[in-house]
């Protein structure tokens, strides 16, 4: 137990040395770019910044899919003159219900609808099932697997769009990750007040170009829109409504660019946009066929403006005007460039810390850490003498090793994490207390020094292991179930328990054994 081979000695000292080297990246920037320069990250609570938890509205994703399906059904049934009494999306049951006027046409209708089934995913499973009853009722039910794939796709796409929108704002080093099935974590270092970003993320920004139905009056109270129309309100005046054809002529997804600018004649703020080839062709076709009619530019079910088409627009370029300010025109341009979200996002959790408060927290944490460290070291020195100082040396190495492992893991240091480091230091010396007490006891029972040391380290081992194992388990649970800064706490404690086992059990034993070998004392200073 008290004998260390030369190899073992060098291995232990080598581990300490490697630990010290791995801490270096935290002190200075990388001298050459190819070095793996891994550091501990400061949590947002310490450096200042915002944490936003966004939820993707899955109901909207399903509803949109079903609405699309309703449209497709309508198109599919038109050529065969199959008439129906009802055609409804039922989002709660993930299905579309179709009721035919003539039950005898059921088989024909099902045959006409069959091409709508698409193959989804790697397994090529059909994405929906079509069932019918003899009385002419047909159900198109989306398969759970297909729904899941669609939801997954929606979240992935949302993450991409969120990333693009945030990049447009110039935030440095944002982190955007998926959490669970339908949530997105957005971390914005340095942004203590994320109001503008929340605004940008709060809009789906789905822009469409639809024709205005000039024959319908949308502003009669209690009026019902004619089939194929929708009454949408104007963006700058929610009370004024306008009748718009449901058919989308050109989709905002076909935009390649959008920039805010001013109209040279009027001086008012506008957004200039450019279509890709598909969009440009469609835009040209529609405007050519509808000269002197009104064309609505719709954003998230609100009409920005509905100008009259003066002449066909064939260049694939256009301009949106509609009482913009400089900032609202810029924001719209950002949203259009970044693309539409597949579903609305809601902020379900926000944690923002300004840089001032972060600096305060770092100071408070550092002071506590320093004072606590000194107190623990003084205690060990006073109560355990030389062996206490061995423990203190091991404690310093423990701190270095903790920092090294956290650097390699690129773990995040939070304020609770700093508290965790301090607590770990307090608990790390506990192992030394157990060892020293045991050595003392064995020595008083009349064992000669070397034998007392042997017995002390050997017999203390199981107690040290048992007590650390339970603490380790408890904090692993905290990491699994915790979130945010508390996870940082769990990480520092679990790492600290592991390193303290090494320093208390290996390093102090090595120190004591070398000390004994050089001095050969008749009496142990315990």
């Amino acid at each position: 137990m008290m004998y260390f081979s030369r190899l073992k000695t060098w291995l232990i000292l080598g581990a300490c040395l490697i630990g010290a080297v791995l801490c270096l990246p935290n002190l200075a920037p990388a001298p050459v770019p190819w070095l793996p320069w891994r550091t501990v990250h400061l949590g947002l609570d310490l450096r200042g910044g915002s944490y936003l938890l966004l939820e993707v509205d899955m109901k909207a994703v399903i509803k949109e899919r079903l609405d699309g399906l309703v449209d497709a059904v309508r198109q599919a049934l038109r050529p065969g003159s199959i008439f129906y009494a009802a055609l409804d999306a039922q989002p709660d049951q993930n299905r579309v219900l179709l009721k035919l006027r003539n039950a005898a046409q059921t088989d024909t209708a099902v045959a006409a609808l069959r091409p709508l089934i698409a193959k989804e995913g790697p397994t090529n499973a059909p994405d929906m099932s079509i069932t019918s009853t003899p009385d002419g009722q047909i159900l198109l039910t989306l398969e759970p697997v297909a729904l899941k794939a669609r939801a997954e796709g929606a979240v992935q796409q949302s993450i991409e769009i969120v990333r693009r929108r945030i990049d447009e704002t110039g935030v440095v080093d944002p982190q955007i990750t998926q959490q669970g099935d339908n949530r997105i974590v957005v971390q914005l270092p340095g942004i203590g007040d994320p109001e503008r970003i929340k605004q940008l993320l709060g809009e789906t920004a789905h822009m469409t170009f639809q024709l205005v139905d000039e024959s319908a009056n949308a502003n009669t109270p209690g009026g019902v829109p004619p089939p194929g129309d929708a009454f949408l309100s104007m963006q700058n005046d929610p009370h004024e409504k306008i009748a718009v054809r449901k058919r989308v002529d050109v989709d905002g997804g076909d935009l390649t660019d959008a920039r805010a600018g001013t109209n040279p004649q009027t001086g008012e703020w506008v957004v200039n946009f450019t279509f890709n080839s598909v969009g440009a062709r469609r835009f040209a076709d529609v405007t050519r066929a509808n000269v002197n009619h009104r064309f609505a530019i719709v954003l998230d079910d609100k009409v920005i403006s509905a100008p009259v088409i003066r002449e066909p627009i064939t260049g694939g370029r256009g301009q949106i005007s509609g009482s913009f300010t400089a900032s609202s025109a810029t924001d719209l341009a950002v949203l259009l460039r970044a693309g539409a979200l597949p579903a609305p996002l809601t902020v379900v959790e926000q944690r923002s810390v300004g840089p001032e408060l972060g600096a305060d927290s770092i100071r408070a944490g550092a002071i506590s850490l320093a004072v606590g460290f000194v107190l623990v070291i003084a205690f060990m020195g006073m109560f355990y003498g030389l062996f206490g100082w061995f423990a203190n040396l091991a404690l310093v190495v423990n701190l270095v090793l903790m920092l090294a492992i956290m650097s390699v893991l690129q773990a995040t240091l939070t304020l609770p994490g700093m508290a965790g480091i301090l607590l770990t230091l307090g608990m790390a010396v506990d192992a030394n207390i157990l060892i020293n007490e045991r050595i003392r006891e064995e020595s008083r029972n009349g064992r000669p020094p070397l034998s007392a040391l042997e017995a002390g380290f050997t017999r203390a081992y199981s107690t040290i292991f048992d007590s650390n194992a339970t603490a380790f388990l408890a904090h692993v649970m905290l990491f699994v179930f915790g979130s945010g800064p508390v996870r940082g706490f769990a990480v520092t404690i679990t790492v600290g328990i592991a390193t303290s086992l090494f320093t208390a059990w290996m390093l102090t034993r090595l120190l004591v054994s070398k000390w004994y070998a050089s001095r050969r004392p008749q009496l142990l200073p315990v």
Partner: protein
Amino acid sequence: MFMRPKIRLVRDGTRIQFMRGRFMGLIVSAILSTASVVLFFYPGLNLGIDFAGGVVMEVRTPGPADFGAIRAALTAEHVSTQGVQRFGDASEVLIRLGAQPGEKETQAEVTKVKVALDQAVPGSKLLRTDAVGASVSAELFRNGLLALGISLLMILVYIWFRFEWQFAVGAVVTLILDVTKAIGFLALTRIQFDLVMVAAILTVLGYSTNDKVVVYDRVRENLRKYKTMPLRELIDQSINETLNRTLGTSMTVFLASLPLALFGGESISGFAWVMLFGIVVGTSSSIFIAAPILLFLGENRLRRDAAAVAAPKARAETPKAAGPS
């Protein structure tokens, strides 16, 4: 000067008859824990926004804060607050809003508060904004309880594997009593109960288990060593022998937590106070609760068990039966 220890916490050869106070210890503990349970229901825990949902905003105003103006502006924006109070020095204001029914409403409130602040105190700075919606807070609460529950279960299983069942039951009953007292402490001091507090309670749990393991390990060792000594005497001797360890290990963690409570700042000092309380409770419960429970449960069985089982067990488990310290 670095050689010999300067001080000892407890003199060698101390023989305190702790088990004499076993009924006293259990009664006091039962009273405290019952009171804690009562406090848990009335007035209840002061749930932080992690678990209750809502909004907390910390603002720094250019000069000393004008609370009247801020309150008036908030009322004008139809924001109903749960409190507008001083936080730290005179220029810092803490605004607390209750939980809103929906996620969108919660975010809308944040915007309204900002508008009100810009009107009432131009130039004020937002130091911190925490907004937690109802669904998230419910999840966080559930996960916090899960972490606590599963940890307790794992500790039970672990101790059960390593010791006889009487030890495991004694440890877990004691831990539950410790946790209830920590909850009572939280209810009494009105310290906000949030995720960080769950971390504190878990740390106290893990730490308090350490203490029990130290005492129990020694009891187990002595059971093998003194085959005929009455259990009561044996437990007393075990506690006395490990007293320096129990107190010493508690002292170090206490010393580490103390600066956090004093200088750690508002958000971490609550955590540290719970730690300090938990250390005191955990240390005393190792002696006055965990040991007496072991005495009651093991009075007849453990003695006979140990005599019959200890010898073969010790051989079978050589690596881990190395013994306590």
